[in-house]
């Protein structure tokens, strides 16, 4: 049985990775997860300089999901290079660094800094709904998606994955724009913009008013978008949005994802990634699947 998958020339031992922002750079999960078992660790977004993030409350639970407006708090690329990359290099897993920025120049600066580093892939966050500048502003316009992808491809030494927003009219158009700009792969979906109101206090549940909805509640939307994007482009797809079990992950793979990310589930089940890996193997055994690649996009 072969669970290896290939994303833009990088071979992962299995298709399961961590969704950016839900796993730090792995250190907080070491009590629960042997990082060597993961296909890849996708780090929390890193910018050119430290970002303090948004005021609290930054999260609120919703039915079957949660809203967050962390605001991409991160230590900046210098600390990240000194601390997080060496930490991850101790493990036999692929390193995917998620990159965020406010301007095209910010993104370029981080991508250039990372050129010297032994990381495997970069994931570009053009879809965070919780920061005022940058983030989603790049991800909701097809022309902007293509333009920033092109700029980053000129500078990137490693393959780049563009992480797309679901807060768009046509995900297929965004996927095509990223592909036209030279993206090596796509990640989708980021969170859906949402809101919760505390009816007793008559205030917003989040200090930021709006936040990104994640968790099991968004899975059907995510599966649909992965299916649409996979049928619009040729580059590989990393599917995510509400995955908590292997069954969820397999839905994404059948819809067209080459790999999958476990996100919010890490918060309520720290060993979720391992359970998904084991469950995929069991599914393959049960159904006589020798190559995981046979499953990718096989539901048409």
């Amino acid at each position: 049985m072969n669970t290896k998958v290939n994303i833009a020339g990088v071979e992962l031992k299995n298709p399961v990775m961590t969704a950016s922002g839900t796993f730090g750079s792995g250190a907080e999960y070491c009590d629960f997860v042997d990082l060597n078992r993961l296909g890849a660790v996708v780090t929390k977004g890193v910018a050119n300089v430290p970002w303090p993030g948004n005021p609290t409350p930054r999260i609120a639970e919703t039915y079957g999901g949660m809203l967050n407006a962390i605001g991409l708090q991160n230590p900046g690329i210098d600390v990240f290079r000194k601390r997080d990359i060496p930490f991850l290099k101790q493990y036999d897993t692929k390193i995917i660094v998620n990159v965020c920025g406010k301007t095209t120049e910010d993104y370029c600066e981080v991508v250039e800094c990372l050129a010297e580093e032994e990381i495997d892939l970069m994931e570009i966050n053009i879809s965070c709904p919780n920061v005022k500048e940058g983030g989603i502003a790049f991800g909701q316009d097809a022309k902007a998606v293509e333009a920033i992808t092109k700029e980053l491809k000129k500078r990137a030494k490693q393959p780049i994955i563009m992480k797309l927003s679901p807060n768009v009219t046509s995900i297929a158009d965004m996927a095509k724009a990223a592909e036209a700009g030279g993206a090596d792969a796509l990640s989708l979906i980021n969170t859906l913009t949402g809101m919760k109101i505390d009816i007793e206090k008559r205030t917003f549940a989040l200090a930021n008013k709006t936040g990104g909805l994640s968790g099991p509640a968004i899975k059907p939307v995510a599966v649909r978008m992965v299916y649409e994007a996979a049928n619009a482009v040729k580059i590989p797809m990393i599917g995510m949005g509400g995955i908590q079990t292997a069954k969820d992950a397999i839905e994404f793979i059948l819809a067209g994802a080459t790999a999958v990310s476990v996100g919010t589930a890490n918060f309520f089940c720290p060993t979720a990634t391992l359970e998904v890996i084991e469950g995929i193997e069991q599914y393959m055994k049960k159904h006589g699947v020798n190559e995981i690649g046979e499953l990718v996009g096989c539901v048409k």
Binding site: T56, R58, G65, M66, I70, P75
Partner: protein
């Protein structure tokens, strides 16, 4: 406290009691968690109802190390805690812990232990383990919501205040302290932010070191999601900004370390 082990396990409810209006007490039988638990640390307690994804962070009230048992006292504040209150002896709940740093037990002759509302429970295990004379000041909403007073009386002198004056002194914990002539060398506090802010400024004015325990909405409880940050004077170790993580760097901070 750094890098200590955390466990996620199915704990058995030995006993659940309603001890005041909307306030409940659960004794858990654990496998490993109680043995490692320190006063001021907390548990993540998981709901069984699948639509409620996130664990509820609840402070540890009491520990029986030898029997590997621990107690939490919590208030019903929403659907999750309401669910917890429905469970009976023999029911099992997933819990993770012990989480956070806990109080650092100092050596002193006299200490203030100050608790407000649902910030009172962690003071019980703390009071048990602290040496020296203890003045325990408790603030409640009203006389219907008094709890843990008799237990705390075993370990120190207890004074109380209520917002409406229906029990103890009318006012807040600071109103009680103002009337005391007690030369405390250390303050330990847990309660709502306005109370902690008042304790912080009192401690500063009197030059008494204070450890205060904070709370905030949490998702992971283990320092990864960055939801539960508080503003810190110094640059934090994780993000190199001024945001300490309440779940991991706290929940107990030196009063002068944080800005409330």
């Amino acid at each position: 406290m750094e890098n200590q082990w955390k466990w996620k396990e199915q704990a058995v409810i030995i006993k659940q009691d309603k001890i005041a209006t909307n306030i409940y007490s659960i004794w858990f039988q654990t496998e490993s968690i109680a043995k490692a638990a320190q006063p001021g640390q907390f548990l993540s307690i998981y709901c069984k109802e699948g639509s409620r994804l996130l664990p509820r962070p609840i402070s540890i009230c009491e520990v029986e190390k030898e029997q590997n048992r621990l107690r939490v006292v919590y208030r019903i504040v929403g659907e999750g805690t309401k669910e917890f209150s429905s469970y009976k002896s023999g029911d099992r709940l997933d819990i993770m812990g012990p989480l956070g740093n806990g109080y650092r037990l100092k050596e002193h002759k006299k200490a203030y232990l100050i608790g407000g509302g649902i910030g009172i429970p962690p003071l019980l295990e703390l009071a048990k383990r602290l040496q020296g004379e203890k003045e325990i000041i408790l603030g409640y909403r009203n006389g219907k919501e008094l709890f843990l007073i008799e237990e705390l009386k075993q370990y120190g002198t207890v004074s109380i205040s209520t917002e409406d004056g229906s029990a103890g002194i009318k006012g807040n914990v600071l109103d009680v302290i103002q009337g005391k002539h007690f030369e405390a060398e250390q303050i330990y506090a847990c309660g709502p932010t306005p109370m902690l802010r008042a304790v912080q400024s009192y401690a500063k004015e009197k030059g008494i070191p204070a450890q205060i325990s904070l709370e905030e909405k949490m998702a992971c409880g283990i320092g990864a999601c960055l939801a539960c940050v508080c503003q810190s004077k110094e640059v934090d170790e994780h993000s190199h900004v001024h945001n300490k993580r309440i779940c991991k760097d706290g929940p107990v901070f030196d009063a002068e370390e944080v800005e409330l």
